[in-house]
C-alpha cells in the first residue's frame, strides 16, 4: 500500500510535540501597495513535519509563501528560518540560508535553455566546489529519488506536466535542504499523477527527514499529505490543526472551503441582494 493510501486509510499524525521549530512566523503583516494581504499571521513549522497552507483564491497563501521565501518583504512582523531572521540578515547570510531551503514552484520554473540534468545540477555548480562528474552523479541520484531517471538529456519543453514537477522537486532537493517549500504541487495534474506527487512529498519527509511547507488549494492532496494544516482566509489564519481537527471544525468559513462553497452560496438570498445593492450604491 502506498504511503498516501496508508495515510488516507488510517491517519496517524506523527508525534511532533517537542520537535524544534524550523520556521517561526510572528505577527506577519504584508501589504501590496496600500492593500493588506496578510494580517498578523502567526504560525510555526516543526522539524520533520508537513505543514499545508490551505486557502481559497485570494486568501494570501501565495503571498505568505513568497514572504517565507524572501521574495516579498513584510510590512511588519518577522520570519525566522532555522533561527535566522530572513528579512534582517545580510545578503551573504541569506544566500547561505537559502542553500538550506529548496523550492518546487508551481510551474516548475525550470530553465528552458538547459537540459533537465543541467537544471538539477545548477545549484551544485553555483554553490559547491565539486567536480563536474560528482555533480552529475548527485543530480542523477536525485532524479532516481523522484522517478525521473533516464530523462537527463531532455529539455523542459519535452517533459509532461508531472515530469516537470518531478524535475522541479529533484532540483529543489539536490542540495539536501532542511526545508522544502512546494507551491501547488498537484495543481493541474490528473488524479493519478497528483497522487504520485503526494507520495513523493511524503517519501521526501520520511526518507530525508525534511520539513515541508506545501501551499495548495487542493483539498484531497492536503488531507493526504498534511501533518498539520494552516487554513488561511482573506489574510487571516482561521485555524491550525491536524487533518482530523480541520475536518471536524465548526467554523463556517472552513466548512465552506471544505465543501467548496462560495460565500455568496451560503448567504440568505435577501442578504445577498442587500449586499449587491449596497455595492452598486
Amino acid at each position: 500500500m502506498s504511503i498516501a493510501a496508508q495515510k488516507e486509510s488510517a491517519y496517524q499524525p506523527p508525534d511532533l510535540t517537542g520537535a524544534p521549530n524550523v520556521i517561526e512566523i510572528k505577527d506577519l503583516v504584508t501589504h501590496y501597495g496600500s492593500r493588506e494581504i496578510l494580517h498578523k499571521v502567526n504560525v510555526n513549522v516543526r522539524e520533520g513535519e508537513v505543514l499545508v497552507i490551505m486557502g481559497g483564491s485570494g486568501s494570501g497563501k501565495s503571498t505568505l509563501l513568497n514572504t517565507l521565501l524572501g521574495l516579498v518583504n513584510p510590512t511588519s512582523g518577522g520570519v525566522h528560518i532555522l533561527g535566522q531572521e530572513l528579512h534582517a540578515i545580510s545578503g551573504v547570510e541569506r544566500t547561505k540560508l537559502r542553500q538550506k531551503m529548496g523550492v518546487a514552484f508551481q510551474g516548475g520554473a525550470l530553465f528552458s535553455s538547459m537540459s533537465v540534468l543541467d537544471n538539477i545540477t545548477l545549484p551544485l555548480r553555483e554553490h559547491t566546489q565539486l567536480d563536474h562528474n560528482t555533480m552529475r552523479i548527485m543530480a542523477r541520484l536525485k532524479m532516481q529519488v523522484v522517478n525521473l531517471a533516464g530523462f537527463e538529456n531532455l529539455m523542459p519543453s519535452e517533459l509532461s506536466g508531472g515530469m516537470i514537477k518531478r524535475a522541479a522537486f529533484a532540483r529543489a532537493i539536490v542540495m539536501d535542504p532542511r526545508i522544502l517549500f512546494c507551491d501547488e504541487p498537484s495543481a493541474g495534474l490528473d488524479p493519478i499523477v497528483a497522487s504520485a506527487i503526494d507520495e513523493l512529498i511524503l517519501s521526501l519527509r520520511d526518507a530525508m527527514g525534511m520539513s515541508i511547507v506545501v501551499v495548495t488549494h487542493e483539498l484531497e492532496s492536503a488531507f493526504r499529505i498534511a501533518d498539520r494544516i494552516c487554513v488561511l482566509d482573506k489574510g487571516h489564519i482561521l485555524m491550525i490543526g491536524t487533518v482530523a481537527e480541520v475536518r471536524a471544525s465548526a467554523n463556517e468559513r472552513i466548512q465552506n472551503l471544505l465543501n467548496r462553497r462560495t460565500e455568496e452560496e451560503t448567504l440568505d438570498p435577501d442578504e445577498y441582494l442587500r449586499r449587491l445593492t449596497a455595492a452598486n450604491d
Binding site: 521565501l69 521574495l71 547561505k96 510551474g107 545548477l122 553555483e126 554553490h127
Partner: protein, 275 residues
Amino acid sequence: MAEVEHRTVRSRLVDILEQVGQRTTAVVAEIGLGAVLLGQSAFWIVMGRARSQPVRISATFARAMEVGIGALPIVTLMSLTIGIMLAIQSIYSLRIFGAEDQAVVGIGFAVVREFGPLITGILVAGRTGSSLAARIGTMRISQEIDALTVMGIEPVRFIVVPALIAMVIMVPLLAFWADLVMLAGAGWYIGVDIGTSMPAYIERLTEIVHIGDVMHGIYKSMMFSVLITLVGVINGIGVTGGAEGVGKMTTRSVVLAISSIIVTDMIFTYVTTRA
C-alpha cells in the same frame, strides 16, 4: 451649463497632468533602475569571486557568440549595402561641383565616426536587445528569476552581467568589422564608377582617417552596447501578464533602444566634436 463645461475642461486638464506626471515618474524610475543595474553589475564583476558568486566565463562566452558571431552575417550584408549606397550618394552630390574624386573624404569620416557604430547598434538592438528582453520577460513570468533568487543565485550576476560583458566586447568588434565592410563596399563602387583603384582608395583613406576617428566610433558603440543591454533588461523585468506582455515589452525594448542610441549618438557627437 458654462459651469459644467468649465468643470469638464478642468477635469480633462487634471487627467492630462496626472498622466504626464505618471509617465514622468515611470521614466525616472526606469532610469534609476538602469543605474542600479549598472552599479550591481559592476559590483558582481569586481566582488563576485569574493562572494563565491563569480561571473561564469562559459555563460559570457555563450552570450558573446550569440551577440557577435550570430550577428556577423546580417551586419556584413547591411554594411556592404550601406557602404555602396554611401558611395553612390556621395558621388552623386559631389559630381555637382565636379569633385567626385573627393567622395572618399566624406565616406571615410561618415563610416568610421557615424555609420559603422550606428548601424551596428541598431542591428544589435533589433536582434540581441529584443531577444534579451524576451528571454528575461519569459523567465520572469515562468518564475525562473524567482527560482534563481531562492536558490541563492543572484539574478543580476547570473543573467545580466554575462550579457553586459558580451555586449561591451562584441558590439565594438562588430562596429569595427562594419567599418571595414562599409569602406570596402564604398571602395569597390568608387572603383567601378570613377575608376579609383583599391590601393589608391586605401591610401587616400589612411591619409585622412586617423585612429582617433576610428576610436570615436568604437567608444560610441561601447555606449550603445550598455544602453541596449540595460534597455533590454529593464523591459524584460517589466513584463507582466503572459505571452502578450512579453511581446509588448520586446517591441518596446527595440523602439526604446534604437531611440536612445540615436539620441546618445547625437549628444556624444556634439560633445566630442563641438564642445
